[in-house]
């Protein structure tokens, strides 16, 4: 692992989020992908909304494999000419989309426009009729489970195991991915989302909002290269929504890309891209002027 990777790593995005990067000493010793768990200390540089929530210093943990992907490819999600039909009805067609490290994209569209279907296709949960989806340079249609996933998709009704508690879900997922050192951070995140008292209960006893928050904690603690969320602001309370916005910005600042569908304007979230599914076509608006219009 050379210094170039660090210098080239998502700095514009970190700057945009008001963060600077101090490489962890462990990084100098990391030579292979096996050393994939390391930390980047992102030091707070005066973002008022962070201070408002009493988060003076934030630790972002990022798998090294994601870092490789971003530095070398500079594109996390590449979707080309996607089309999807269901029961002879075209849901959308000719959808092309590209997300870079640090991108936060909002996906808009009326009910039934196909937002969830698009997210499912980008996550590899559904197969588009045409087109190609690549995440971190890997074609989703050809990738195998053994390689692990760079995508975490939080669907509108996240599923959980029926025989693991919330705490065990967090620890299990992290340890299965060899990321045990993130356990404390993940549990702290759960605490911030007001899940601390429910961590030893089965998620089946949770309300919809709590289930969604647990899924958010799982996703954020894994720090995937691409985070997809289906209407995350719908089921959760306003305080958690603000916290989610900040966590999304931090994740993007660490070099991930985030795409979320929504019906309302997310509170305190600085999106870099707006996408709109309208008349079966995806309209990508990147510039501020376009977004404002």
């Amino acid at each position: 692992m050379d210094g170039h990777a660090i210098e080239g790593f998502g700095l514009p995005h970190l700057a945009r989020a008001g963060l600077s990067v101090e490489p962890n000493p462990k990084l100098a010793q990391a030579e292979t992908r096996a050393d994939c768990a390391f930390t980047i200390q992102a030091v707070y540089h005066g973002k008022s909304n962070f201070k408002h929530h009493g988060i003076p210093d934030v630790v972002i943990e990022t798998p090294l494999r994601h870092l490789f992907g971003r530095v070398v490819m500079d594109t996390i999600l590449e979707a080309k000419n996607l089309s999807f039909s269901y029961a002879r009805r075209t849901i959308w067609h000719d959808v092309s989309l590209s997300l870079s490290p640090g991108d936060i994209a909002l996906l808009w569209g009326v009910n039934g426009a196909g937002k969830t279907t698009l997210l499912r296709c980008l996550a590899g949960w559904s197969r588009p009729n045409e087109g190609m989806v690549a995440v971190c340079g890997r074609d989703l249609a050809r990738s195998t489970r053994r390689e692990g996933s760079d995508v975490f998709f939080v669907s509108d009704t996240p599923p959980f195991y029926e025989d693991l508690t919330a705490r065990e879900h967090i620890l299990f997922l992290l340890r299965a991915n060899g990321l045990s050192d993130r356990g404390a951070h993940a549990l702290e995140l759960a605490d911030r989302f007001h899940l601390a008292e429910s961590l030893d209960a089965y998620p089946s006893s949770f309300s919809r909002g709590m289930r969604y928050k647990l899924a958010i904690v799982l996703a954020l603690s894994l720090a995937p290269a691409l985070l997809l969320m289906d209407e995350p602001y719908g089921p959760i309370d306003h305080t958690s929504a603000v916290l989610l916005s900040h966590e999304i910005e931090l994740l993007a600042a660490s070099g991930s890309a985030v795409l979320l569908s929504c019906h309302q304007v997310p509170p305190e979230l600085a999106a870099t891209m707006q996408l709109e599914l309208e008349d079966k076509v995806l309209d990508v608006k990147k510039s501020t002027a376009e977004m404002m219009s």
Binding site: R145, R146, F152, F153, P159, Y161, L164, E168, H169, L173
Partner: protein, 503 residues
């Protein structure tokens, strides 16, 4: 009869009518809507068919049992007669243990809403349900008695034997009620004493079932049958007294029971009552729903000693097996009873013709072995988490099924030792059983993964039938080695299909 009691009786008759209607719906008719003469004629036609079918089936069963039992020597027949009381003892054991944990009287949501507030109604409902269960079991016991009498040709009157069978079943059915009701009675103190007395009652009931066997075994040879027959009359009187005592206990305890406790313990039953019809179409789905709800109600048992990577997977699957322990019971029944039961016939130590009913039993019980790959099903069914488990499907299947497979292998070993020990082919039986156990796991995997070349999942029952059919073909193939080799090749092919398949 009080107004509350009459109302409950009317309600139960309505329930019976609704159940009959559901059954008749299969034949395209209904008790309530059949108003015309043609409809009534059709109902009568259905009733006649059912009666004729029942009569012919009963005759066939009588003939089959008589043919089997007449082959027994009088002493063996006497021993069999003395063993009969053990059947209700075993039958009452499971509900009695269950009664130590949960109320024997289950209330539906409607019962809770409309009867729960009236103690008189609940008491009547308890009496009715207990009496209905006891009578039902009594009828079954009497039928078993008639079957046995028909085949054994006992030296004395048949009536005491039939009565003993019926009364033993009734007593066995009422015991869980006594145990369960005394447990949910807050006025019976201390609780530990009530539980101890319950356990003692249970132990006495089971112990007393061995008395006839002990008496008969100690009788001189050649007189075992006569000794067994002599015991039937006193046994019937003792059982009658036992039933009377049990009924008195129920009558005394029922008014003391806590309705709140019974409502609380009926939660799972009440919630799943509406989906009972699923059990007819998909018994496995229904069982899983019930077990899931029971697990939720119990709360988390044990804790997760989590490892890293594959160790984390193993921790999860072990914990899942502990928390949903009912599944391990299924695995044990499958591996220690169902599979070894056919091994003597497969290995040529009995009539090969019996392999066919054994295979039918295997297919009929396919929900039990499917439990071995349940955690894999759970993993694959959870797309959000599965996407982030960095393991191929074969690795995931192997680790997820490991605890259940270990239990199955232990069960198979014990089962084969018991069934094949006398014939001296334990090793071969164990190898074949292990192949079935491992193959069952692979069948579970093939039911989830899209297999290359055929681009579809393979129905669990179909692949299981192929596997067991291969083992069952041993008499035709002439050697257990050949059938084991073919089964091993099939398993290897299945594993390759999972490894290169798409989940």
């Amino acid at each position: 009869m009080s107004w509350g009691a009459r109302e409950v009786l009317w309600l139960r008759v309505r329930h019976l009518r609704t159940r009959t209607n559901r059954f008749l719906n299969v034949a395209g008719t209904d008790l309530d809507e059949s108003t015309s003469l043609t409809d009534r004629m059709y109902l009568l036609y259905i009733a006649v068919i059912i009666v004729v079918w029942a009569f012919l089936s009963w005759n066939a069963l009588m003939g089959f049992t008589a043919r089997g039992l007449t082959l027994l020597s009088p002493d063996t027949a006497g021993l069999l007669l003395a063993t009969l009381p053990l059947v209700p003892a075993v039958i009452c054991l499971v509900p009695s243990i269950r009664a130590l944990l949960t109320s024997p009287y289950k209330m539906t949501e409607q019962d809770i809403a409309y009867l729960g507030s009236d103690r008189e109604c609940v008491r009547t409902a308890i009496f009715l349900d207990a009496a209905r269960g006891a009578l039902g079991y009594g009828v079954v016991g009497a039928l078993v008695g008639i079957l046995v009498v028909g085949g054994l040709n006992p030296t004395e009157s048949a009536v005491p034997i039939i009565a003993t069978c019926a009364l033993a079943m009734m007593a066995g059915r009422l015991l869980p009620w006594v145990i369960g009701l005394s447990r949910v009675s807050p006025t019976i103190r201390p609780k530990a004493l009530a539980l101890s007395v319950s356990c003692l009652l249970l132990a006495m009931a089971i112990g007393s079932a061995f008395i006839p066997l002990a008496v008969v075994v100690t009788s001189p040879k050649g007189e075992l049958m006569a000794a067994a027959c002599r015991l039937e009359f006193p046994a019937a009187i003792a059982l009658g007294c036992g039933i009377a005592a049990e009924w008195v206990a129920i009558v005394l305890i029922a008014p003391l029971t806590s309705i709140v406790s019974m409502i609380d313990e009926s939660e799972v039953y009440a919630e799943t009552m509406a989906i009972q019809s699923i059990a007819l179409v998909s018994p496995r789905t229904y069982t899983q729903i019930i077990r899931r709800r029971k697990n939720e109600r119990r709360g988390p048992l044990a804790s997760l000693r989590i490892g890293m990577g594959r160790g984390a997977l193993l921790s999860h699957t072990t914990l899942s097996a502990i928390r949903r322990f009912e599944g391990l019971g299924d695995v044990l029944v499958w591996s220690a009873i169902i599979v070894p039961a056919g091994m003597p016939f497969v290995l040529g130590f009995g009539p090969s013709l019996l392999i066919l009913p054994w295979m039918l039993l295997i297919i009929r019980s396919s929900g039990k072995p499917h439990e071995m790959s349940r955690v894999f099903d759970d993993d694959e069914g959870n797309r959000m988490l599965r996407s982030n488990l960095p393991f191929g499907p074969l690795t995931l299947l192997a680790i997820d099924s490991l605890p259940a497979l270990v239990v199955a292998c232990v069960g198979s070993t014990v089962g084969c030792v018991l069934t094949l020990g006398a014939f001296g082919s334990v090793g071969t039986g164990i190898v074949l059983s292990f192949l079935i156990d491992v193959g069952t796991v692979v069948c579970g995997g093939l039911a989830v993964v899209i297999v290359p070349f055929i681009y579809r999942k393979i129905w669990f029952e179909a692949s299981l039938l192929l596997l067991v059919g291969t083992v069952a073909a041993t008499p035709t193939l002439g050697s257990a080695t050949i059938s084991a080799a073919i089964a091993a090749v099939l398993i290897a092919a299945g594993m390759a299909g999972i490894a290169f398949g798409r989940d």
